[in-house]
Amino acid sequence: MSMVSILICISMSALSLIVAVVPFVVGEVKKRKVIKPVEYFPPAGSSPIDFLTQFYGSSAKSRDLFNAVMLYWASRGFITIEEDCKRGLKLIKLKNLTRPESNDGFDSRTYDIQEQLFEYLFSAKDTFYTLATSCHFKDCFKKITDRCDEQAKKVTSRNSGKYTLISSLTAVASYLGVMIAVACSIENSAIVLGFIFPLAAMGMYKLVIVLPEDDGVPKGSSIRFFLVPFFLAVGLIPATAVMLFMHPVAAAVSGIELAVCFLILFIVSVKIDIRDDGQLKFYARICGFKNFLILAEARQLEALVEQDPQYYYNILPYCYILNITEKLKPKFDAIALDGPAWYLGDLRDTLMF
């Protein structure tokens, strides 16, 4: 393979990588550079759903929302939580859900999502047992998580979607370009056909993943799980076999381009998260609150608990969403905490941490 061909291939790979990495880095730098005010409390009126959508943006995983929302409702006095048969929860409705007095600039539509979930839980009876919940609830909860995901997508600016699409298309174009360059260079176009398989496998996998749930392969099913090794085999076997018969330099160039394409399509492009100044304002406040909790010394937290004995239980739902409960455990373990009135069971270790 000639030096010119190698340089052309490397340039194309580098270009596609730059197109994907630059918006990703820009988004991350903007998030990092934004001024994060120190917040001792979660912004007034914000719910765990606000935290989830604003903090994680389009990469929010709303399936883990249930515990946090339950704790949030309990801390606001709408429900009580009891342990049920050591492995479940009994939720008792105390009063109807009401809108917070101030939503402090956060999106009020997240309250509608909460209301819908509350309605699902307590529409028939005032007591909800997780262990006796019918599978119908799964569908209802799915609708809730879909709404959360939809809400989360709105948090990132429209440019993120554009850049994701552009970087994916560039990656595919560069892959095809490199393969054509390699084929021309080694004067054996047939051998490069083996590299169509990984591209087809990656494309098919993406297509299956983005298919709507009703028409496509259901989420969490083993068939969906099976697709990973299947497409891995379909893509890698022909490509590896072809590489073994190629000149080592040509094989290395093709292999590198395959790796770059995979990296862009499955890792970098999906993480592009560019936000405008308005969107960054909420993100910064949540970050400030998170940083305070992580960096605060035990005596600072102790002072806050002295002011408000329920402080820990009020921030707990948000800690769940921010995934910092494990980090906070040693700090709060040192502070004497009374169990909150709304929690009547002995599930602290399971539910809280």
């Binding site: 479940g88 599978c135 068939i223 090794p229 590896t240 073994l244």
Partner: protein, 342 residues
Amino acid sequence: MYKPVPYHIAAAGVYGCIVILCALALYYGLRAKRNVKKEKVTALARGFSPLDIQRIFIGKTYPRKLTRALIVHWAQLGYLRVEYVSKYRVKLVCLRKPPEHNEEKAVFFDRGTYVRERDLFNEIFSRQGEAKTVNILKALFKRDDVRSINASYAVREDEGVYSSKHYKLKVFSFILSVMPFFINGAYLCATGSFVGVIMPFVMFVGMFVFRFLRELPIVFRTVWSAFWVIPMLALMIVFFNDTFDPLFLGWASVVMLLFGGFVLIRFVDYREKNNLSDYSDLINYKKYLLYTNKKILKDVDYYEVLPYLYTFNIKVLVKRKFNTDTLPDWYVSDNGKRGKLL
């Protein structure tokens, strides 16, 4: 074609995987047993179902295998009257239906098990007073009914039994069991046999379908997977037989795939803290039934423990220790014959 350096690297990898998987199986296999407390458990909570025992032990229930245990359990709770028909056949008469799980009358150990058990009962009896003659050696329910009842609840049976760490460990063990095959494939490539690339992937597809595509019928799944896996195993052995293989890498990878993937992986078991405590109680109760002498057990109500004897599969071993002279109130036998149920 034998190449010493790649060969010894491959050997280190293959035997490393074997050692790690054996260590995991040994450590986690004994974890639940290590946590069994030294205490005497002489009775289980009222309403403790045979299905609870299965759930606590293995994280799922097989009501089709518990016909006798469930009949006795339901009769003891007053839901059934049992009439003798023949040695292996009894007539079940529904006296009342199990109450809803949220009613005060409902007696159970675990709500999740109870709601399923209640549905199973309702599957047999649609109304009070209904009678059915059943063979106690056959399943009471159809497989599809059990499946659909299980699937009709949002919370899985193994919730609270196995944590996510358990499933991560299982996946890790599965990877360890197939890894030697991939290492051998890489070694074959290094020696110039490029078919080494294809073998592991083809084998992996077969294994994956067999292990994880539970929706497919077992016979079809086995045959389909066998077509993918067995030729690859044979090919691996043939390839290594043709080369100098003093450390038996070919055989080691095949043995690891089958023994590790199907046997050792079963010992990798990581339970939730609460489940460990229930597990300990059940083991201690089983020990109590097995090893307590006749003088003490003579005063214990045999029919109360009978469902558990069936579930633990120790009825034959311990029945003689109990006083079985009188028939229980719920059992009707005109000719005084007991049948095999009791």
